[in-house]
């Protein structure tokens, strides 16, 4: 009897639990009606969400008939999730789009072309960085309004650099694939072993390194993509290409520079330690724990860096290569899904988000560099007050840049390239054959959508 009573109780508890957690929407009842329009806005960055919540609150004040809910989708499966939602017809109305999947969504019909809307609303697109507008244009189509940009620089451990004799960071270093240039010399000077000897020293002990100069990770945007452009190489001949220019002598030179020259000099963290596949969490940990002096990365890590303690941090520019100093340039857009039930209201939201008032809120709060050129000083000012001078990132944006490559299948293509280049980074395979194999699979991916 006791057991039966217990079972009945357990059954009741389970039932109550089930009912309490259930939602009517779960059964397919999508409630509807009323004068307010409900929009969902999806993004992945929890920090930017704070600023955007403020911006969206202001938008809702000015448009009382529109209610916006912000949804955070983890970056790891963002593209996949939103695509799935689009297929089942319940994608968010407005969402962020990053360049690796821009072409897939644009050419796949997931996004609304806002070019005619921009024309009708008379928006002056010259307020944005021209490179950003180019990045998101596909012939006559424009896939959304630019919201921000990023470039690549080094965050450096100022305490350590001072110890090595650099009160101020060098800003005119040069590298080349033949002998490494003044850049390699500098890296050697700041790589120290456990006895305090630098890599320039004859008694340097490469088996016992206390502080590496930097890392050259197997990742395009914040690592080899920059060196690639500086050496005159490229991934694609033009956006939306279906075959790459990856397997070129310039790129071979550049990869050898990283996998052979820099690792032979022991100035970079071995790939086995960073992980051969470009995952940035390891490099971040190495910088944070004081084992690496320079962290080559984009300004999306500003908040993380500002929260580190234990040493002073500064920003210095990348070295210039044979073709000068070139940074990979990328930015996001706010886009409208093509099957939204509320196209008019969604466009109102996107106009707001792409406009100076919203972007002012984001720049002032130090969340991102605004896509609108004239608002950049606000971002700079915010971080200067926090003791971090971000000018070199701005300098890179005003200098020579190369847009993040755009092609269908790019997200997976880049992942596959990274996987294929892994052994080269680990020193297990020669660069030439790895690059050839990487190029083959890269070509397969970017041409898949268009081949019959």
């Amino acid at each position: 009897m006791k057991r039966r009573q217990f079972l009945q109780l357990a059954g009741a508890a389970a039932g109550t639990l089930a009912l309490s957690g259930c939602s009517a929407a779960g059964w397919g009842f999508r409630g509807d009606g009323g004068k307010t329009v409900d929009l969902t806005y999806a993004l992945w960055d929890a920090n930017q969400q704070i600023g955007l919540t403020k911006s969206v609150a202001e938008f809702m004040k000015r448009n009382p008939n529109i209610r916006v809910t912000i949804q955070q989708v983890p970056y790891g499966n963002y593209q996949q999730k939103i695509t799935e939602q689009y297929i089942s017809g319940n994608a968010p109305d407005v969402f962020w789009v990053n360049t690796p999947w821009l072409a897939d969504w644009g050419r796949g019909g997931v996004l609304t072309d806002v070019a005619p809307k921009v024309k009708q609303a008379g928006i002056d697109m010259s307020r944005y960085y021209p490179a950003l507008v180019d990045l998101h244009t596909d012939g006559d189509h424009l896939w959304g309004l630019p919201k921000d940009w990023d470039t690549i620089c080094f965050f450096y451990n100022a305490t350590h650099l001072a110890k090595c004799g650099y009160a101020k960071p060098p800003t005119d270093l040069e590298w080349n694939p033949t002998d490494g240039g003044s850049f390699l010399h500098f890296l050697k000077r700041i790589t120290l072993d456990k006895n305090g000897r630098s890599a320039l020293d004859a008694g340097f002990d490469p088996g016992n390194i206390a502080m590496y100069a930097t890392a050259a990770t197997n990742s395009y945007q914040d690592s080899f993509g920059n060196y690639m452009a500086m050496n005159g190489g490229s991934m694609l001949p033009k956006p939306y290409a279906t075959s790459s220019t990856m397997n070129s002598p310039q790129n071979r030179e550049m990869f050898s520079f990283i996998t052979d020259m820099l690792s032979a000099a022991h100035v970079i963290v071995p790939a086995a330690q960073t992980g051969p596949n470009g995952d940035s969490t390891n490099v971040e940990t190495l910088f944070a724990s004081g084992q690496m002096a320079l962290w080559m990365t984009g300004d999306w890590n500003t908040l993380t860096v500002s929260q580190l303690s234990g040493f002073k941090i500064g920003v210095m520019p990348m070295p210039s290569g044979p073709k000068g100093r070139i940074s990979v340039f990328n930015g996001l857009i706010d886009a409208i899904v093509s099957n939204t039930p509320h196209p008019k209201e969604a466009w109102q939201l996107v106009q707001w988000l792409g406009g100076p008032e919203s972007q002012r809120i984001m720049a002032e709060g130090g969340y991102v560099w605004s896509a609108i050129k004239e608002l950049d000083p606000l971002f700079l000012a915010y971080w200067k007050k926090k003791g971090l001078d971000m000018s070199w990132f701005l300098d890179a944006a005003h200098g020579k840049t190369v847009n993040f490559p755009v092609a269908t299948g790019m997200q997976e293509a880049l992942t596959n390239v990274t996987t294929t280049l892994g052994p080269a980074f680990l020193g297990q395979e020669p660069v030439a054959s790895s690059l050839a194999a990487a190029s083959e699979i890269f070509d397969y991916r970017i041409s898949y959508a268009s081949k019959k």
Partner: protein
Amino acid sequence: MTGVAQDLPVKARPAPAKKAKNHVPAAERKRHLAAYGLLAPSLFGVLVFLLIPVIFVFVLSFMKWNMLNAPAFVGFSNYIDAFRYEGAWHALVVTFWYFLLNIPAQTVLALGMAMLMNRKGRFTAVIRVLCVLPYLAMPVAMGVVWQWIFAPQTGVVNTLLHLIGITGPNWLNSPEWAMPVVAFANIWQYVGYNMLFFLAGLAAIPPTVYEASAIDGATAWKRFWHITLPLLRPSMLFVVVTGAIGSFQVFDTVYVMTNGGPGNATTVMNMLIYNNGFVGFRFGTASALSVILFLVILVVTLVQFRYFQKRAVYEMV
């Protein structure tokens, strides 16, 4: 056995199973209808959610579709692409490697534990239950615990190794160690459950068999090898076959612990299918990979049945 039936007088042989087609008594017909009625729901489920999808997958494997654009017929190119670009061969090798790391060790351990704990007593009973506890854990959740236990700097394993002076490798980031660690996690989860099958098998062996051999003076090892093991064949078959089918379909643990990495060192077939289908939205290629996996499992299962001989199969059915 075969000679007996012939000795029976014709009258005593069982009545032929077939009746005249139209002569089905009403009571029997009612029973047939009742049977079909009882069968209907599960048959519906099997048809709609198993059989039709299988047929669908075969058809889809010859097409190219990403659910955004219209589907197109592409013949065998998905199968070719699967091996040429998608790494199907590598995935099969990795899956087979996982199977080899997992099943033999797990079977031996399960058997060993069953032999060890095949006795009465409260203490033994409690330990037995503790061994089955891992079976209840969400593979997803445990995968995370293992990730943390095997973490390079802060993990338990490397901390312990450090105490005896060894620097442990970056387990889950190293192409050599990632798979063994995943296999270990899986063994931990299921060895207790498999032990139960062997315990049941051991319980079915009549003690008289052992008494006879003891009289003959057989040693413990001889007893085990010549009596216990052969009599355990049905349990062995069950454990190995279901274990093999399960290991060729592993996904949860890999997804959470390594997501197929580092590189593609742990990209098992199921992971490849998932990546092609639900990340790359290449449903045609993913279907082709599914068909390939299905055929592999079929072959492996048939080989195992052949190895364990038909006798054990009929004992199961």
